[in-house]
Amino acid sequence: MSIALRGIGKQFGEFAAVQNIDLDVPTGALIALLGPSGCGKTTLLRIIAGLETPDEGHVLFDGRDATLWPIRDRKVGFVFQHYALFRHMSVFENVAFGLKVKPRRERPAPKEIRSKVQSLLELVQLGWAGDRYPAQLSGGQRQRVALARALAVDPDVLLLDEPFGALDSQVRHELRRWLRRLHDELHFTSIFVTHDQQEAIEVADTIVVLNRGRIEQCGVPSEVYDLPTSAFVHRFLGQVNELPVQSRGGRAYLGPIDISAASALGTGSEANIALIRPHEIEVGAAASGWPAVVVAVRVIGPIVRLELCAEGQPANEPLEAEISRERYEGERFVVGQKVGLRFRRWQLYPATGAAA
C-alpha cells in the first residue's frame, strides 16, 4: 500500500511537533524517518498509524483519504521501542491476539490460528518459545515477538518506532539485517523511526531527515550522506569537522589552503563554514599542505582515527581524520608527529544557517 502525506501539521499546546509535511511512500518501500529527539519523527509515525490526529493536512492510503480512519481500520502493524508485549499472555497468545479479536465471521478457526502463529514464530526464529512469557525472553527475542504479533494480522504497512533502540549493539545489528531480509521477502511497506543514522543508512531504501518538525532532506542513503543540502543534515549523518572560511584579498581560505577555485559558495564578505568528513582529510608528509601535529591515534577495527591539531587552530578543537588500517600499518603515525593536511572534499554553508 502506498502512503502519501499532504501538508501535515500537528501542535501540542504551543509546540509545533510537525509542520507542513509532504511525503510519498511508494508501495513496498522501506523508509527511515531520521532525526534528533524532538524533531517530530515519532509524531509523524503516530499520525500515519492513526494514534494521533493531525491538526491540518491529509494522510492518503492508496490515494484514499485516511486522515480520520480509526487505527483498527488502517491495517497497520505498529511496533513500539519497548515492545509493548502483553505480559499476562504467553508468546503464543501475544501473536494470536490480533487473530482472536477479529469479528466471528472473519476469525480463523482455532486450528488455523495455531498453525499461523506457529509459522510466524518460526519466521522470527522463536518456534520453541510459544509457551514462554515475555518476561522470560531477552530484549531481542521480545522485539521479534512484537514483530510476529504485528505481522499476524497481515498488515499492509509496518510502522516501527525506534524498534531497536533498547537493544545492545550486537543484537541491534543482527535484527537490522533480519528486518531488511524480512522486508525483501514479504514486500510490505515499512516506515521506521530512528535517531541512529547508522541504522537508517544500513536498513532503509530512502531516508527522510527531519529537524524541528520539518523535512530537511529526503533521498537514498548515499545521496543524503554524500550530498547533504544543509549543514544540519551534514552534521547529523556522521562525523564532521567544522572550519571557518577566511577571506583574504578576495580569495577564500581554509587555514593556509586556497579554496577559491573549487568553492561554489560565495567568497565574499559573508561568513561561511566548511564541513569536512573525517575520511575526506588527507594526511600527508609534513612539507605539504596545512601543517599539523598528531595529538591522538585510535585504532577502531578496520579504520584508524587521528586527532590532529592544525596550525592556527585552537588546541582544544582538534580535527578528526580517518585513514584505513592498511595505510596505518604502512605509515605508523605516532602522537607528536608533524604532518601536512589536504582536503579531498568539503562543503560550504552560510555560517548563520549552519548554527541551526
Binding site: R72, F78, R87, H88, Y133, A135
Partner: protein, 293 residues
C-alpha cells in the same frame, strides 16, 4: 587483626538486621496481633454459648446483613468509578486534571463525621432536598440509602488512588498495540487493560471493602441508630459496648474481624490458585524494578 576487623564489620549488618526485624515484629505483635487476639479472647470470655447467642441475636444478625449489603453496593460503585477516573487521569490530558485528582482525595481530607453531616444537610428533613423527599415518601437519612451514600463517599478514593499510579506507569503502549491489531475498545479493556491492572484493582477493592464494612463516623451520623434496621456492625458493637454488654460487643467485633481476615484469605487464595497471575505479578515487579534502575 585485619581478620578481626573484617569479622566485626561482617557482624554489624547481621546485628542491625536482627534488631530491625525484632523491632518490626514486636510492633506488629503489640499493635496488631495482640488487639486482634484480645477481641477473640473477650468474645469467648463467657463461653461458646454466650458467643453464639450474641451472634444469633436478631438485631446482631440484622447488622451483619446490613453491613454486607452496604459493602455490596458501595464497593462495585467505587470499583467502576475508580477504574473510570484512573483511566481518564492516566491516559488522557485534559483541563482540570489536577483538580480532579485533588477532588478524589477530598474524602481522605474531610473528617467522616462531616461527610455524614453533608448528607444530613442535603437530605435531612430540613435539608435542601428534604421537602421534596418528604413529599415523595423517600427516606434517605436514617435509612439504608443514607448509609450507602455515606459509605460510598468515605470509600471513594481507595480504588482510584490505587490504580492511578499503576496505570500511569504502564502508559498507553499496550492499549495502542491492541487497537492497531484490530481490537475494539471493549476488547482492549477486557483483554489488555484489566489484566494489566488487576493487582492494583484487587488491592484497591480489598481496602475499599475493609473500609466500607468498618466505617463508623459518617455512618453513625446518618444512620439514626435504629436497632435491627439501620445499625451496621460497627454501630452495633458500639451500642452493645455502651450497654456494658462486653461479651456480645466483642462477639460482633470478632465477626467483623473475621470478615476482614476472610477478604485477605480470598486474595491469597486467588494468587495461589492461578500461577499465571503470580507470574504476571512477578513480571509487573520486574518491570517496575527495571524502570527504577
Amino acid at each position: 587483626m585485619a581478620a578481626a576487623e573484617s569479622r566485626t564489620a561482617g557482624r554489624s549488618p547481621a546485628l542491625a538486621r536482627a534488631l530491625l526485624i525484632a523491632v518490626a515484629l514486636s510492633f506488629l505483635g503489640l499493635f496488631l496481633v495482640l488487639p486482634l487476639l484480645t477481641v477473640f479472647v473477650q468474645a469467648l470470655a463467657k463461653g461458646v454459648g454466650a458467643y453464639a447467642a450474641a451472634i444469633l441475636d436478631p438485631t446482631a444478625w440484622a447488622s451483619v446483613k446490613l453491613t454486607l449489603l452496604v459493602a455490596a453496593i458501595a464497593v462495585p460503585f467505587n470499583l467502576v468509578f475508580g477504574v473510570v477516573a484512573a483511566w481518564a487521569i492516566a491516559k488522557f490530558e485534559f483541563r482540570g486534571k489536577s483538580t480532579l485528582i485533588t477532588l478524589i482525595d477530598l474524602p481522605f481530607a474531610v473528617s467522616p463525621v462531616i461527610a455524614g453531616l453533608i448528607f444530613i444537610l442535603l437530605f435531612g428533613s430540613h435539608g435542601w432536598f428534604g421537602g421534596y423527599l418528604k413529599v415523595h415518601h423517600i427516606r434517605v437519612v436514617f435509612a439504608v440509602p443514607g448509609i450507602v451514600l455515606a459509605t460510598i463517599f468515605v470509600t471513594f478514593p481507595f480504588i482510584a488512588r490505587e490504580l492511578i499510579p499503576v496505570m500511569q506507569a504502564q502508559g498507553k503502549d499496550d492499549e495502542e498495540t491492541a487497537l492497531s491489531l484490530g481490537a475494539t475498545g471493549w476488547q482492549t479493556f477486557w483483554r489488555v487493560t484489566l489484566p494489566n491492572i488487576r493487582w492494583g484493582l484487587m488491592y484497591g477493592v480489598l481496602l475499599c471493602n475493609a473500609r466500607a464494612m468498618g466505617e463508623f463516623g459518617a455512618v453513625s451520623v446518618v444512620s439514626g441508630h435504629i436497632r435491627g434496621l439501620t445499625n451496621t456492625m460497627p454501630l452495633h458493637v458500639e451500642i452493645l459496648y455502651n450497654e456494658y454488654n462486653y461479651a456480645a460487643a466483642f462477639a460482633v467485633a470478632s465477626l467483623l474481624a473475621l470478615l476482614a481476615l476472610l477478604t485477605l484469605a480470598g486474595k491469597s487464595f486467588l494468587e495461589w490458585r492461578q500461577p499465571e497471575l503470580r507470574h504476571a505479578a512477578r513480571q509487573g515487579r520486574d518491570r517496575t524494578r527495571r524502570e527504577i534502575t
